[in-house]
Amino acid sequence: MIAATRAWFWLLSLSAASTALAASLTTGMIVDVAPALVGAMILILAWVKARLILNAYLRLSDAPAFRRGFGMTLALYACLLLALYLAGTTRP
């Protein structure tokens, strides 16, 4: 299986996982898990998907220095989004 097809499979699987997580929270399928934790998991999945597209489709896997740079910047950005999300979720 070529890298693009493998990435496509993972992107579909991770998108389904994040949608299922969000749906399970809104439909009350999971009640014992804090919404903030579910949100954090959804953001982590988004970060993984973004890295997959950068590495497999935009071929940063062929450019290790840029892969590291983009990966680090994306991780910092995901942390910013997570912090903003958690700040809004934990407020009374």
Partner: protein
């Protein structure tokens, strides 16, 4: 006397440097928009969650599958053109562009539904960001469809690589927009 060959770190980048400048610029714009959205959400998380309930998560989920699959076809198309299979490459790029049209059709239905409910840009700050971010993204999808069509017609490897890189950027932005706007509560 000839100048010695100097290797630049930018030589490592796949494709043209200018397309990466464009990709980084676009990611910064959308990144700032999504961060601003979550920043404004801090003022009233409950109202943002209530507003989000008016969105069609399933339609957005379908659109995610459509766009991710379109990106896959574009990647396969670029690979085919690079290997000299021009006809196959064109077919795959046309498939990618066609799925882009499907994405826009679903988006159009989504906007029409909001309009029927009387929801507009000024209904709530949530919808201001919703229309701004998803509308700007849809404009990029429309531009990307034109770009894919143009590079498919000419079918030159370097141009196809640049065109599909733009399309993957549109894909990349969507995988960040989808969870932040539609899924996070």
């Amino acid at each position: 006397m000839s100048a010695p060959d100097t290797e630049s770190v930018f030589d490592e980048l796949p494709g043209d440097l200018m397309i990466w400048v464009l990709i980084v610029s676009e990611l910064l714009v959308f990144g700032a928009g999504l961060a601003a959205f979550l920043g404004v959400r801090l003022t009233d998380p409950a109202a943002f969650a209530a507003a989000q309930d008016h969105l069609h998560r399933s339609a957005a989920g379908v659109n995610t599958v459509v766009l991710v699959t379109s990106g896959w076809l574009a990647a396969l198309g670029a690979r085919a053109v690079n290997l000299g299979s021009i006809a196959q490459g064109r077919r795959l790029l046309a498939g990618a562009a066609a799925l882009g049209v499907v994405f826009l059709a679903v988006k159009w239905a989504e906007y029409a539904d909001k309009a029927a409910q009387g929801i507009g840009v000024e209904t709530h700050p949530f919808f201001t960001f919703y229309y701004l971010i998803t509308g700007f993204h849809a404009a990029h999808v429309a531009a990307g469809i034109v770009v894919l069509a143009l590079v498919a017609i000419r079918a030159r490897p370097q141009e196809v690589e640049a065109g599909t890189a733009f399309w993957h950027m549109v894909d990349l932005v969507w995988v960040l927009v989808f969870p932040v706007i539609y899924l996070l509560r």
